[in-house]
Amino acid sequence: MVRPDRGVGIVGWGVYIPVHRIRAEELARAWGRDWKRFAAGVFVEEKSLPGLDEDTFTIAYEAAKNALRRARIDPKSVRAVYVGTESKPYAVKPTSTMLIEALDLGERSTTGADFEFACKAGTEALEATIGLVGSGMIDYGLVIGADTAQGAPGDPLEYTAASGGAALVIGPVENSIAEIVASHSFVTDTPDFWRRKLVKYPAHTKAFTGVPAYFRHITTAARALMDELGTNPGDYDYAVFHQPNGKFPLRVGKMLGFPKEKILPGLITPKIGNTYSGSSLVGLSAVLDVAKPGQKILVASFGSGAGSDAFHIEVLDGIEEAQALAPRVSDYVNWKRYVDYAIYARNRRMYKMPNDMGAY
């Protein structure tokens, strides 16, 4: 377990989920699958996808803007901007500097970088920012987890790989709406999911993704954190886990001793799919949207490759006022327009275009 020298907390939070959705049934239709047999088991009814003009930068920008609205700080005081993603617009060129410019952050005296750790890049960026704020090196940092996740056409991952992101403004606990009391990370070299250089879609080993990857890492990180803090599941009002589908978070919660009532408020994947680096932070944001002072939240991310970051968070006074200052996760979940597979493929840039028509 690690904890910062000075108290660190969440000053503002915000999400962005594109308005476009495709139903699991439509994905199955395109590839001649029986949806009920093939995909209903993952409990994702529909998933979000980017608009023609959206990517991880534009998603990160809107999530960050919502987080800054709730934080009510001078954007010039943000001295670190870290973006966790596995779908950077550029292979080489930081997304973070684009955000710093577009949001006019930190008078450019700002450290910025993109983090990659499959689905837990966002909480990895959070851990680094807690260190900078907790050591007193900076007062405010902006953390983002955002993705336009790739699933190969026809692959089981196509039913869950979605688009969206969440942002947190991290700062001193005195100005926070929730304290991040402590965290614990657990990582191993586990080849459950990867994407090689210049390859468009990831590969995964079905047998490895469950027990040795997701369940082992989350339970190890969460148990170690609770053991060292002397807490147990009964002490928490909410538990948020990485959500690659609608099923795993409930099952890992059961293994740890959390009833589903504590998990459902932060379980968003069944409605929008898995937003990868955004996933656990979108779940946390949905909980912060409704949380009350004094409540306790356990968050455990998971990233393939593999590892989990677990956080103990305590909600503080002032959160209710902040809740109303930006759109909630539920607002984005409910604002949607359906597309068919042809438009899905166009928005996801799956067609090989004949020449330069402005596409990726």
Binding site: V19, G51, L52, D53, E54, D55, F57, T58, Y61, E62, P89, Y90, M98, E101, A102, D104, A324, P327, R328, S330, D331, Y332, N334, W335, R337, M353, D356, M357, G358, A359, Y360
Partner: protein, 140 residues
Amino acid sequence: MWSVKASVPSLWREAPSRYRLEATECVECGARHYPPREICPRCGSKNLRRVRLPESGKVISFTHVRAPLRGFEYYTPLTLAIIELDDGTRILGQLTDVDPEDVVEGMRVSAVIRIVRVSGETGVVSYALKFRPEMPTGDR
């Protein structure tokens, strides 16, 4: 015809107006100009200062472009609109996240950063603020 490749220096130079709606305001007559100008087109003054325009407003008029310039085909149809921002400044902008048949005069819109186009497989991605319908929110 415009060149297919975006000009990197001009994208870089225009970032403050493309990303943050930075405009110029005439200190003499108060007129606001977007994109920013060197000389006030209304009174000829060179005494201008930088201001950030409000990021919401309403659609005054619009047109759907179904045969766009080369390099923009992927985004067809493009909806271009004259938008009156909440300070009264009128600017030309592109609408997004709305079907052409749903665009109406007077609709409320707010600014969001979006891809304008991408210059081939190896070029830069051009971004700018576009406008989308204001999102309905639940109990607020």
